[in-house]
């Protein structure tokens, strides 16, 4: 049984395999008969179609590309066309304008031509008039010539007649002489004849000079009174000529004067106009100046405010108090040793400020090494006053002619605050607490400023003229101000009232920066004068105590040493004296 099943299974499989083989064979046969046989031929036959198809495709693509190019060209051409049309329109418009312009110009031309012809006519008329005048002139000239000839002729005739008359007279005289020779009236006769001859000579002159023939002619006929009348006529003629000459001279003079006057008038006019222009210019310049000053002031105030704000925000500074303080102290004591230049101030700052005045910088010197420690730049004009804070020796204030006060921090090396004021500062002084500054101004006012806010605390009129220096007393209660009005005032710091005034007859301020100072015991005031002497007042007595004469040149400044003595003074020649 199993074998049978196995066999049947096997035979099944065999059958299956056989049939499958048969099917595959049939498929193969089909392939050979159908596509196998026909494919090559069909492919060969269809190739032309395919290739044609591809050819057509290529052609179509080429044509498409060409078409695109044509479109592009067309669009370009149409753009060009648009441009050309626009241009032609513009040209037409301009052409129109030009035509109208031409028409107008033609009209103008005609008008001018008419004017021209009119002017020609006028000219013709004027020419004829001129010709007439010329011919008249000619006639007058010829007339004049004729008259002159006539006059000459008349002269010649005159002369001839005079000669004849003379001859006649001579003959008469000779006859007379013959007759009178015996009688001895010769003398008389000779005198008469001589007189006549002389007179006739005189008259002949006058005749020669006359130019008016008609008057002479009449005169010859009237014998007796002939000479006199001839003389008179001649005189008259002479006078007439003289007057005429004078007249002409006067005329010429007058003309000259007139021309001169005209010239002068024109010059005058020019000068007047120039003056006007200059006044205008001056006015403009003034106005501009004012405006600029105002603007600059404003700018400076703004800058100062900005600076102030910015600097307030900055952090705290480190202290190198000792060093700077030491410098300050040492400088106070040995300050006189720095005053070896012609600078009026003895303060060490001031020297350097002036040395650097051309660059408007401040230099901070190390006393020990003698080298510049800091260079503080920022001022735009000469620095005129400097002071160091007595509290923290790293704060320095400087005032310059740019109307600003700058507060510097030596630690940081730059300006920490700035105050602007319209009246220029002349001198500065730190207060004892180091928070306020006293500033003396050109307008004679003493002003107090708060350093940190930069605000004006108070002001007081200290002098009628500019303040030259401010110095503080040791105890800090009193401020000494000196002004160009040759006064020294003491102000109470708190009330800002004058508590003392000092003057002396010979005491005159030597310069704008003359420095005076209070003694350390607050009893005396010392001030230099232009005559070379130093005056010392006692505060208590309010009177001069002594006068020190040594300097030969105006004393520019003096200062008391912190110890009480010596007093040092410097003059314009650069000499420093110390007094004990």
């Amino acid at each position: 049984m199993m074998n049978d099943i196995m066999e049947s299974v096997e035979s099944q499989e065999e059958i299956a395999r056989e049939t499958i083989k048969h099917a595959l064979k049939a498929l193969k046969k089909r392939h050979l008969v159908e596509e196998g046989a026909h494919a090559p031929a069909y492919i060969a036959l269809s190739r032309p179609i395919i290739s044609q198809g591809s050819e057509w495709k290529e052609k179509a693509e080429k044509l498409e590309v060409e078409l695109q190019q044509c479109y592009k060209a067309q669009s370009r051409l149409s753009e060009q066309l648009v441009v050309e049309v626009a241009e032609s329109r513009a040209l037409k418009g301009s052409l129109q304008e030009k035509e109208t312009a031409i028409a107008e110009m033609e009209k103008e031309l005609n008008e001018t031509r008419d004017e021209c012809s009119r002017l020609e006519v006028d000219l013709g008329e004027k020419i004829t008039a001129l010709k007439l005048m010329m011919s008249e002139h000619q006639e007058l000239k010829s007339q004049l010539e004729q008259l002159t000839i006539k006059a000459k002729n008349a002269e010649a005739e005159n002369k001839m007649l005079v000669d004849r008359w003379m001859l006649q007279k001579m003959q008469d005289a000779e006859r007379l002489n013959e007759r009178l020779k015996a009688s001895g009236l010769e003398k008389l006769a000779r005198e008469q004849v001589e007189g006549i001859v002389r007179r006739s000579e005189e008259g002949a002159e006058f005749f020669a000079e006359s130019t008016v023939p008609s008057v002479c002619w009449h005169r010859i006929n009237a014998h007796e009174g002939g000479c006199a009348s001839i003389l008179k006529v001649a005189e008259l003629e002479r006078e007439l000529n003289e007057t005429r000459d004078e007249c002409s001279r006067l005329k010429m003079d007058l003309e000259e004067k007139i021309t001169a006057l005209e010239l002068m008038m024109s010059e005058h006019q020019e000068l007047k106009s120039q003056l006007e222009q200059l006044t205008i210019k001056a006015k403009n310049a003034e106005a501009e100046n004012k405006m600029l000053v105002d603007r600059w002031m404003l700018q400076k105030m703004q800058d100062a405010e900005r600076l102030n704000e910015r600097l307030k925000a900055s952090g705290l500074e480190k202290l190198a108090r000792e060093q700077v303080e030491g410098i300050v102290r040492r400088s106070e004591e040995g300050a006189e040793f720095f005053a070896e230049s012609t600078v009026p101030s003895v303060c060490w700052h001031r020297i350097n400020a002036h040395e650097a005045s051309s660059s408007n910088n401040l230099f901070v010197w190390d006393v020990n090494s003698g080298r510049v420690r800091h260079t503080l730049t920022g001022h735009t004009d000469k620095v005129c006053a400097v002071d160091v804070s007595k509290v923290s020796s790293r704060h320095v204030v400087s005032a310059a002619y740019d109307r600003t006060i700058k507060v510097w921090d030596l630690q940081k090396g730059y300006c920490t605050n700035m105050i602007i004021f319209h009246s220029n500062f002349q001198s500065l002084c730190f207060s004892t607490n180091g928070l306020t500054i006293y500033s003396g101004h050109v307008d004679g006012n003493l002003r107090l400023w708060d350093i940190q806010t930069g605000k004006l605390l108070s002001e007081v009129a200290a002098h009628s003229l500019a303040i030259t220096s401010i110095s503080l007393s040791r105890n800090g209660n009193v401020v000494l101000t000196s002004g160009r009005d040759n006064l020294h005032n003491l102000f109470d710091k708190r009330s800002l009232e004058v508590c003392g005034t000092f003057r002396a007859t010979g005491n005159r301020m030597a310069s704008n920066w003359s420095r005076s100072c209070i003694s350390p015991d607050d009893n005396y005031i010392a001030a230099g004068s232009a005559d070379g002497s130093i005056y010392i007042w006692s505060i208590i007595k309010a009177d001069i105590v002594s006068t020190l004469k040594e300097h030969t040149a105006p004393v520019l400044c003096c200062t008391w040493s912190g110890l009480g003595k010596p007093l040092a003074s410097a003059d314009k020649n650069g000499i420093v004296c110390t007094w004990t």
């Binding site: 499958i20 049939a26 069909y42």
Partner: protein, 365 residues
């Protein structure tokens, strides 16, 4: 698979004539010679045919349709099937006529070019998937690119006369394997695997779910006359004579091999009124000199033994008055009835997972 390759590459030489009603030039254009793939569809050939005739066509809109000897060809039937069905004696080249006007809307459903064919193909695929898997989710969920790839792999060699089909076959197999449409278990296919194609085919078969259901499209035409040779077989001249049966076949594993014959019995039971008789008779008729007819119906063994010496021809004649199957054609071949059906299904099915079988049946008058 050699069989797969043959099936995929199969093409029918066509000689396509333009119908005279549409010839407007003299001389009339020569017929177009075109190789039409068996697994393809006729409307897909339109781009190849048009260049031949475009110059001679009368002006107007073109709607292409084919006819063979007066019978308009249904465009959704694969070309190979049409050829097998309508040409009992294969006519090579096959002379069909093309029309560009006068679409016979009463006979043919409308076709609007490649898209209609594509959707018809996808529809068949869905049907097959439903039959085989029980649902067509896998086809519905196919991604667009996969769909396109599937279609193009099927269609690509329709357009080009380039037979680089290994690639296309691979592409098709790659995409279709994604569908995981179950295949029939078939131990025979691997036997005859060719070295070049073994890789994909085997893994495909090995990794897929096995099923017992097969999608089958059956085209049966009935003839009333008797004939001896294929050449004398009358050709179908009307679709009414052709019946189109869409019936699934369930492969039963009952120890013995399920043959094509068994499948046909399932599909066309009326043709096999007495199955054993038929088989026996067939065997007897054929081998009447060799075998003794056995009365024992159940001795299948004997029957099978007898079947071992199977006839070379296909035709099984029957003396009884019932219909008899004269001709069975699948993919242009006539396989033996004893061939394992599983092999047939796995190797001879169309890309739409359907097995198209053409059957000629003689019915008594």
């Amino acid at each position: 698979m050699e069989a797969h390759k043959y099936v995929w590459e199969g093409a029918i030489p066509l000689q396509i004539h333009l119908h005279e009603s549409q010839v407007t030039t003299l001389p009339p254009p020569p017929p177009a010679l075109i190789l039409a793939p068996r697994i393809g569809y006729l409307p897909l050939l339109a781009p190849l045919i048009k260049p031949y005739f475009s110059s001679t066509l009368p002006p107007g809109v073109d709607t292409i349709w084919f006819e063979y000897k007066g019978l308009p060809l249904k465009w959704y039937i694969p070309t190979g099937v049409l050829f097998d069905l309508l040409c009992p004696e294969p006519e090579r080249p096959w002379n069909i006529t093309v029309h560009f006007r006068g679409y016979p809307g009463n006979v043919l459903i409308p076709c609007e070019g490649e898209d209609s064919v594509k959707w018809s193909f996808i529809n068949s695929l869905k049907e097959a998937a439903y039959i085989i898997n029980g649902n067509c989710k896998n086809v519905m969920n196919m991604s667009q690119s996969d769909q396109l790839e599937l279609w193009s792999s099927v269609m690509s060699d329709f357009e080009l006369y380039l037979w680089f089909l290994e690639g296309n076959l691979e592409a098709y197999q790659r995409v279709s394997s994604k569908l995981k449409i179950a295949t029939v278990e078939d131990e025979y296919t691997s036997f005859y695997a060719s070295k070049s194609q073994q890789g994909i085919g085997e893994t495909d078969l090995a990794g897929q779910v096995k099923t017992g259901r097969v999608a089958v499209r059956l085209y049966v035409w009935s003839v009333s006359e008797d004939f001896d040779d294929l050449e004398d077989m009358p050709q179908p001249d009307s679709w009414e004579k052709i019946s189109y049966i869409n019936r699934p076949v369930e492969i039963q594993k009952e120890g013995k091999c399920f043959t094509l014959h068994d499948a046909l019995k399932v599909l066309l039971p009326e043709n096999f009124p007495d199955e054993s008789l038929n088989v026996k008779l067939a065997a007897v008729d054929f081998e009447n000199t060799l075998k003794i007819p056995s009365e024992d119906v159940s001795s299948d063994k004997v029957g099978e033994e007898q079947e071992q010496n199977a006839y070379k021809q296909v035709g099984a004649s029957c003396v009884s008055g019932s219909a008899e199957i004269k001709l069975i054609r699948i993919q242009g071949i006539e396989p033996k009835l004893e061939i394992p059906f599983s092999w047939v299904v796995n190797n001879l099915m169309n890309p739409d997972y359907f097995l198209h079988i053409c059957v000629c049946v003689k019915v008594p008058k």
